[in-house]
Amino acid sequence: MSVGHGTKPTTHARELGFLRKYIFSTDHKIIGIQFIFSALIFLVIGGLLALAVRLQLGWPAGDIPLIGRWFPESWGGRMSPEFYNMLFSTHATIMIFLVIIPMLAGGFGNFLIPLMVGAPDMAFPRLNMLSYWFMWPAFVSILSSFFVEGGAAGVGWTSYPTIASAMLPEGTASPATPNAGMGQTLWLVGLICVGISSMLGSINYITTIVNMRAPGMTLYRMPLTVWALFVTAILQAMALPVLTVALLLQLLDKTVGTTYFLPPAGLTFGNWQTAAGGGQPLLWQHLFWFYSHPAVYIMILPAMGMVSDILATNARKPLFGYRPMVYALAAIAGLGFIVWGHHMFQSGMDPRLGTGFMIATMLIAMPSAVKVFNWLATCWQANMNLTAAMLNALAFVSMFVIGGLSGIFMAATPVDIQIHDTYFIVAHIHYVLFMSSLFGIFAGLYFWYPKMFGRMMSEFWGKVHFALTFVLANAVFFPMHIIGIQGHPRRYYDPTLYETWAPLQPMNEFMSVAAMLLGAAQIIFVLNFLGSLFLGKRAPINPWNSNTLEWTVPSPPPHGNFETTPVVYRGPYEYAVPGEPLDHVPQTEPAK
């Protein structure tokens, strides 16, 4: 692929009004910041839902504290099991679809890609704006689902038929559980909108990266962040159509009476009898996981890319093994398409299929291992500046090791028999999503905040936030491995009914206390983030002395990004180059 043709930066003939400049903007930077702000708001909502889950798990026999009197009288002051199901289902849905994916792909992807490749904006700016605004129907859908009859969706973020899809011939309420009625329908609509948003975005990213790189910016001179977002966009473009169709099929089953997931004999719920069907519940799992496995890579690859850049910059040392790192990204993504069945080992599908999926799944650990060792090698004999961003990036590495290693237990089909649907899985999920993706997000926010908002965040409070989050998050999530090994199932309203798991209650209580403290610690980040917008020191152009193109333009960059199209002469990781006066050489620095 030849280097991209340079484009002259555009200037607008007239000054735009407030609405067109900041709300309905086609500027990728504004769109990126819109994604980030929306995601942060939902991070708070999703976090509060998680705290409510931990409240019930920590004290299963307890009453709802403080707000108990706002609940209906017949509840007797206690959380109902269906309400609990709704809590963890919406927690997961919001975190995955309204926080992590929009933040990483929509937020950082939008903000960074044109800047890092030297383009004035994305290839399709109006399509880009549409991709953000498609999130709003999803926000409205999911939020309003809390207030409909039966409540928000409560059948797990995986929304398996037949509990999610069973319907009676008439009406909008589900016979299977109250929260698979209108709430589930809104959930499906919301996720279809998120899918469309992501697909629109991914078209933009791929086109921009392929076509609009500045002169001299060969593919192998792009920062890892861009590579990661590029591969992520390809994943999204190829996997999302399958999810969107699956959601549509379930939506049709729920509204129009199709029977894609309804078995031939229909279903019986006491007195209620559904219509006869002609489909298979297992079909959903295949379609869903065909997307949702690549989805987990969509949720980690951008963070991996950002961590690579942040580590190299703060270690003042080139990224170790640039090309292997790129190949590893591609390998993870490619393999990610053929492992979806590892979520279905116990599902009733032919166990021989399980063997095939196990082989592919075990192999995916290889490129992940390559990445971990390269990150460690980047820090070896380095000259590390332990900024808040760097600390979060370092934590990403070791926490991802834990998350990745626990994945190997689950990949092993016989061992998975024991740990499937237990807290071992929940531990794994949170190590890769909270302590890897979210730490990556924190690292990215601390690192690129100056460029986004023209202000510096408080380094001191960033470090306090990191220390507390690091310790407390491990306190919350590591014991989950232990209780999972003991077989403690997930999605249980009250595990103390069982002699096998009642003795684990002290651990559940400990994790819940730690979770409350963890939630409280995030207030520091929120205050730092919001407060620095107004009170932070003005940011210079290149506060971190980094090499990549975004650090050559003002903080924040103007519309059109670059006054003149930059020309790139070298790779992004020229740090500690022998013979150079400074310990870093920007990409735009001509060769001697």
């Binding site: 039966g150 559980t177 004999a265 209620w272 507390l468 310790v471 206390v513 403290l517 210079p540 290149n542």
Partner: protein
Amino acid sequence: MIGARRMAPRRWTRPLVCSLLTTLAATLAGCGGSLDTGYSIDLIYPVRKDPLVLAPLPAETPANPVPPGKLDESIRRLPEIKGKLLDPDKLTDAQRADLKAALDAAFGRPAEPTIRVLGKVEDEEYADFVTEAPASFAALKLADPTVEPDDKQKAEKDQAYRDKTLAVGGKLFRRHCMHCHGVVGDGRGPSGAWLSPTPRDFRQGVFKFISCDPGLSRLKPRRDDLRRTLNHGVEGTSMPSFALLTEEERDHLVSYVLHLSIRGEVEYDTIKTLLDPNQGPDALTDKKLDRHVASRTGLFLWQWAQAATASGATPAEEPKATDPADAAFPASVRRGYQVFTGQDAGCISCHQDFGRQARYRYDDWGTLVKPNNLTNGIYRGGRRPIDMYYRLRCGIPGANMPKIDSKNFPDADVWALINFLRALPHPDTLPDDVREKVYGVVDPKAVAPKHAGGGHD
């Protein structure tokens, strides 16, 4: 920029982090597992707001049950189809306050449940029941029958025993039952309205699966009947088996259900009297309402005690042929078929097409219930022959399945009917002629399976 000035560590940051970690460790050390403290002391039994369903019930026979979440809506529409409702909304504030005070005094609150029959009752019709109360408590095992007599001391000991039993039962109820049956036992817990059939509403003092002639027991079940429901669950519904609780726990639960039922029935009866147009608005003011509550509490306690001490429906003779391999079995099944389809017992008039085409009808709680599809092999009240005997001899109160009296149908006929019912889901055990009439085919292998898919038992 970086490294130009290292951030000076604040003096208090290290101690801050260390103390937080210490607090965490202390919390871990202090974690001794969570205790079940039961109901909050602030929680009170709310006075009923949903309408009372009165006789006569609508005669409609809908094809479909009430949709999920629409129970109360469906009950409020009963007057449109000639049903009768009484709305507690029509109580004046003063009446409601008086009622609440009287019920709270007699029945306590969820954290401190009790049953007290308070004060003297002049009304001749009910005075006896009030004085019978202690005996009723003993019969219902709500008092310790082994305590030696000394009247005042015994009464106090009984009271304490009763309150302790009910408190333990209440705590268990909150943990295991409340989310379906509701705090007051109205079947409208957060999970309840989304189940079909809906969980039992205890507040009318009516229970379906009894083992005693309703004429003798005044329609109340015996403790054993409730315990049987807890042990086996109600097959085909969402009522699970609680056999994995200890026997003592199940006993306490039965006592607490009794408490909720008596409270509910007293409330039902009192609201009915308060809103009775013939009585006039001053019928039950002040003391009169208290005495009404006391008298009804005594009455319903007495009814439960009657059921507890009445002898159950005991078969006079044993069945002759019970094993399908027995030579006399086919004849017994044929006789059962005759009884079932005959005019006198009239089973087939409700269990149309052996239940396969039965339609829903309204029960005493205003909900819809369907005569069982007897080809399914699911028996809500229990599948033992003696359970079927109880259903036939005692009927099913609430759902209004009539009983088969022993004058017109001796036990031999009832056992024959039961043999027929047992064989009905298993076409290979039916005689050929009966099989043809029921399933339309002679070859047992040609009968379509109950469910093509997973099947249900």
